[in-house]
Symmetry: D3
């Protein structure tokens, strides 16, 4: 069960409106790696978690923290779509960009400014649950597999991709208020990368899981001729130069070998027949008799 | 540029048809973590790669290998939807499930068998580019960020989630031909987990990247009060018991501290006004005069 | 069965081309609340309707009217993407924006103008079944539940959100021809709001349905401790000041009470085990013996 | 900013596992009208709200309550996918359905049982953020327009459609534990229907908004010949018999009239030309000269 | 502008309910190649059409006819979800499948019967705008390009795929009422294949368009070394045996040649650098100095 | 099984960066008719193919060729997002557009330039698997039906729509390097249109298939009153003037007739009842007794 306080987790007040940057900022709210993804992704992982309580509690802590991050970003975007205090004093002529559109004839000047049309037409100056291109957020972005190692690896990724995007956005604005908020989000992403890496370490040390994940599946059932072999699929062997092509495997359970020209081990890809009453193209044309036979009982 | 040989990379021939398992197997062909995802995901990462040649070549090797895995799974699914030779000899009464529907009146017996209706109506006994629930494959599943650490972490995840699903499917069938193919795919996922982990090690050792990712963003610009702090968001402190809540951070750059009751540091979440001509609900109702003013110039 | 006349329901001719506004106008053609949504939404409700004939006929009348609205908007958008007669006379230098791109070198000037690239590359100067951000129309936007009160409430919403968007678009253009069309659509949305509200009144007066919807479900089967209680979930009690927090309920069947600090009534959220052969993370690591046991019969 | 307690808002413990009903129950978790929709929909509306504090606080209270409902449903679904204590005692032969699949050879018996394959392969016995057909949750389901009347009408709809689905599910199970939870959700939906209707009343009484919504748009700018007219679009006049076809309009601002055979008021739907360099089919074939002209400067 | 009559275009009354077949039949209502696709696809093509009137009129005729086909299928599906008259007389024990669920305890028996859960929970016995797997209809299925040859080729495809699916469904039911309706739809698809092929012939004979489409683009601007060359991309030359590998081209403008081992004509695929401030992985690690330089002005 | 060489199939090097055109070019990489669609569409058709080897081999040849086209476009887009060598020499002041954003304060100048924000924030200067509006690629775009005539007709369409879009893009750029690549793609689309048309001819000549497709379905089972009849659905008879309305049918199996005013042949569209426990709106309100009866056994 959840409760809220009315204050935001951290400051999220831009110095002045900027509808163009509002569009960019949507990416880390409602994009593939945005805060809605980590919020709902972590909450689902936590609710589905069957591991000991400290894991579940930790996952839920971060998931709950992320609700507050969604709040901060939604608030910041809505403010980027407002008139600034200064502009309000100076009157209609210096309205924010939306005001400019509504107040005058030079529509194009503004719309072409790269504003998200949904911010005017659909949300009326509010944030939307979508990315910088207007794609609606989708649960296709998240995962909750029941296997914590698989999911924590996803979470490390999410915090890395997310921090990367926030870092890029940091360079796309010079508003000190926005930068202050992004600086906080960057810090939290740093912590969360560390936290999920620590959780992976803990899982391994407590004997829950290790590489290859899932480790409870007995490796003797996997094809042991191919589980530590690098198969070159290109002309030339540049790929033989890396750590991945030689030496002991990272899981400590094998020795990596490199095969330059891997043979095709299966037979020629060829299919048999399906029922002619599915009307697919068969190996040979049906004779008239065969065609008639197909429908005898129904004619 | 790409070429093909007509043989498949490995065996992918079930002993007998099984349209119900064909539906399940779609998950690792066209699902979120299926082979289409790794095929197209790795190819896009490779084509976009600006790192030294051995990285790009390695990524492309795996991406090209995955085209062959998509081929194996598509082939296997199509075969699971065929009549087996034996059944064909024994006549219509023992047809595969599709045949049973087409040949007799007991439609329900079969359709309820949990077959994917698209395998009959849409693809006519072929595989589809969709998951076990019939969701069409979507590029929302993949990523290519330009930052190899962020992407390799995603790739480790993909091989973990994928191996997990293959392991589950291994337990959902007892067809030796299918199990043989899955055993091969499990082995390749083991190798690929090792390979991406090795590539992460290489990236770090060569000085390209480290935690927090992206490491080229200067940490002094992130909020240093919060980058190594665990914020408890729940009643009780079970989450304090883990490695993530105490000790040196995993990146070796900080010391983790645990805050039991984190304060809200921002002000109350409250917005200003937007232009009334967007017809949002304002802080106070507009007077008749204000309403009229809005449209004077246009009436 | 349906027929058409070749005239449009109302005028939909802009005075001059405006590819930028064409993009905006797509929202009310193919967006969440656009005319395709009400067209197909109402038609599905009508075709699925089992209520007396006057309801079905009324729904179908509006659904059929909306086909004509889709036609008007598609036509208007296509015209906004044409050269106007005047411009054609004055020659290439004053072409519409599309012409400008094709006729000269200053591509960016125009594309950055915020035109939807699909209007040039995909539809070649025609409307598309998508919204102002290029999201393809989706049946996720509509509903037909079989319960007319539930659906008519959706329809009142659709006409409200739709009229809101048309009103915003009215302020984003100064083309008299476009404004004339929008003025007609605003009027029809006014009528349709009234009509669905009247239909709700009729449903209630004829005894079909009332609040809480569905009213045929016996309220004694719902938990009667919580059906007229406002549960505060925030620090502070600002929400206690509204009509929703006190007095007789709107359905006349209860008295609303306000609970400031609602207790959590369920136990701690904790799950049991699932089958270990799903390879989820369990409550405790499996022993080697347990692992082996899992696969005994198959090794 | 948000916090959680570890207890659930209400009981959500089924008496015994039922993977088939788990699939059905997904609809009210991750479907169009499920709890994720109201959770994220209300939160976005609240964060974007510019109306006086009591409105915002009320919206946020409900949005926060709904996080707890998502938690209850996710938990209940995960439990429906577990072995029951009784079954565990009685051993593998009486496992739940998932166990049956994994424990024996009769895969089809179970999979055809209508279980969602994602519950086995993807989530490993956990809930997913998708509906009863496996469609991933999408932000296409929600709205936050900035206009509270338009949005509250949507919210009344959501609580009606949601309660309708819960009522149907109540009849699709006979598990007392599940029925107890659904009985609670039905009660909360009753309250929430009343609450949003009360909020609409409050908005109207405080002068913020009324029908037609948005009421700040001056009706003299809409086409006043058509704003209170019912246009019959079918043969016959059954639709003339309802409240919607006659009498004073519901907003009290007009008198409804019924037009049996509405004329088409626009001209024949016909378009002009677009630039030939878009290669659309023109009104007449291009001559060879015209074709050549198109590319002169580039050849 | 559109009107309707209350009768359906043809009979669409099943003899008895069959909720399992209702699910299958959804494919040709709301699937990729279902009637909604041709209805909305043709209407969009017609509304966007700039060719002479007979083309536009013909397209609109078919598009309008298809609205009636959607009506027939929606009606048929709703009826397949009803009790039949006989069953009603015989009482609850012999209810249709939905009745069985609601009337008794053997829920699983029925739901696992492969019924679409949305038919019970979401639409309450009505059709939905989705396919046999519950995927919501999407405008991604349709096209309106402005070039009639390109679009008519799509339309021939749609009528072929659609007729193929109807033919398969014809074999999946033995209900005479349903077969009668499908027999009508098969006939209309036959006509429509002929009609679009005739329209292509007409376009070519009237000089509007020919292969290669678009034919107004001057072929001398395309690379004339490769426009009539078959490039073998596989080991072996089975593909050399077909009409596509030799002889005059189908458009009569070239002679096809077959290249067994096509060389790669471009250089090695390799990229340059992007701005380091995007934090991608560069060709070589940045030095500490370079890193610092990146942010000098901002620190 | 697949292999690659490191060279691209053809040149794909722009002379200078152009992030705005990079956005447009995405359409033919990841749009509905882009190269990913033909790549994955053809590969799926080939893997599912049961026709004689020359067909399968031919399909696979083209599918494999298309992997190389995806590579060329992804590479070209990535290069359009780079600094050109010249610009690099001339220093930061003349950076490409991305550099301009990152290097200076005039963010808007550039972003409004119509650049895809994902190229900066998400892919960091790489191509994405999406279209010009940022819609992620979806398997909804492709088909593999098992019937080669139906699929080859789709493939002719894909090559027509694709060539149309490439031709439009050819006119939207004046970069010689880009035009060189597009000229090659135009040529391959010309060949591929010819090739699929030749394959259709071959299928027909070898007796596999003909119009109406699927031709193995016996036409005597389709409704023979309506399979060669044009049904006018509009006022007026402009549509009677075309080849589609008169003369022998294109398949040579019938004579087309034109019906000006087609009657509705089915009865009035009206439904029966569904089970009241689904809470739909019935034909008449339930009495109190009926309501009570519904739940007797459960109260």
């Amino acid at each position: 069960m959840f409760f809220r306080v009315k204050e935001t987790a951290f400051h999220c007040t831009p110095e002045k409106p900027d509808p163009v940057f509002a569009r960019q900022l949507q990416e880390v709210l409602g994009g593939q790696w945005g805060e809605i993804s980590v919020m709902l992704g972590y909450l689902m992982q936590g609710w589905n978690c069957r591991a000991p309580g400290k894991y579940k509690d930790m996952i839920m802590d971060i998931g709950t923290e992320e609700i507050g991050h969604v709040e901060m970003l939604a608030t910041c975007i809505a403010r980027l779509l407002e008139k600034s205090p200064v502009e309000t004093q100076e009157g209609a002529a210096k309205d924010g960009l939306v005001g400019a559109v509504l107040g005058g004839a030079k529509i194009q000047d503004v719309i072409l400014a790269g504003m998200n049309p949904h911010h005017a037409i659909v949300s009326g100056g509010g944030a939307t649950a979508s990315d910088a291109n207007g794609n609606h957020w989708s649960a296709k972005y998240i995962v909750s597999s029941g296997n914590l190692l698989a999911d924590f690896r996803f979470n490390v990724t999410a915090e890395s991709q997310g921090r990367l995007q926030v870092a890029r956005l940091y360079n796309l604005t010079d508003d000190p208020g926005v930068k202050k908020m992004l600086s906080y989000l960057l810090a939290r992403d740093t912590m969360h990368q560390n936290q999920w890496l620590a959780a992976i370490r803990e899982l391994e040390e407590e004997g829950f899981e290790e590489t290859p994940c899932p480790s409870n599946f007995p490796q003797e059932l996997e094809n042991q001729e191919f589980n530590y072999v690098f198969l070159n699929h290109s002309e030339g062997t540049e790929s033989a130069a890396g750590r991945w092509a030689t030496g002991p495997s990272m899981d400590g359970k094998g020795e990596i070998t490199y095969i330059d020209k891997p043979p095709a081990l299966g037979p020629q890809q060829e299919l048999g027949q399906v029922d002619p009453r599915l009307f697919g193209t068969p190996k040979a044309p049906l004779s008239a008799g065969e065609r008639q036979l197909m429908f005898t009982k129904e004619s």
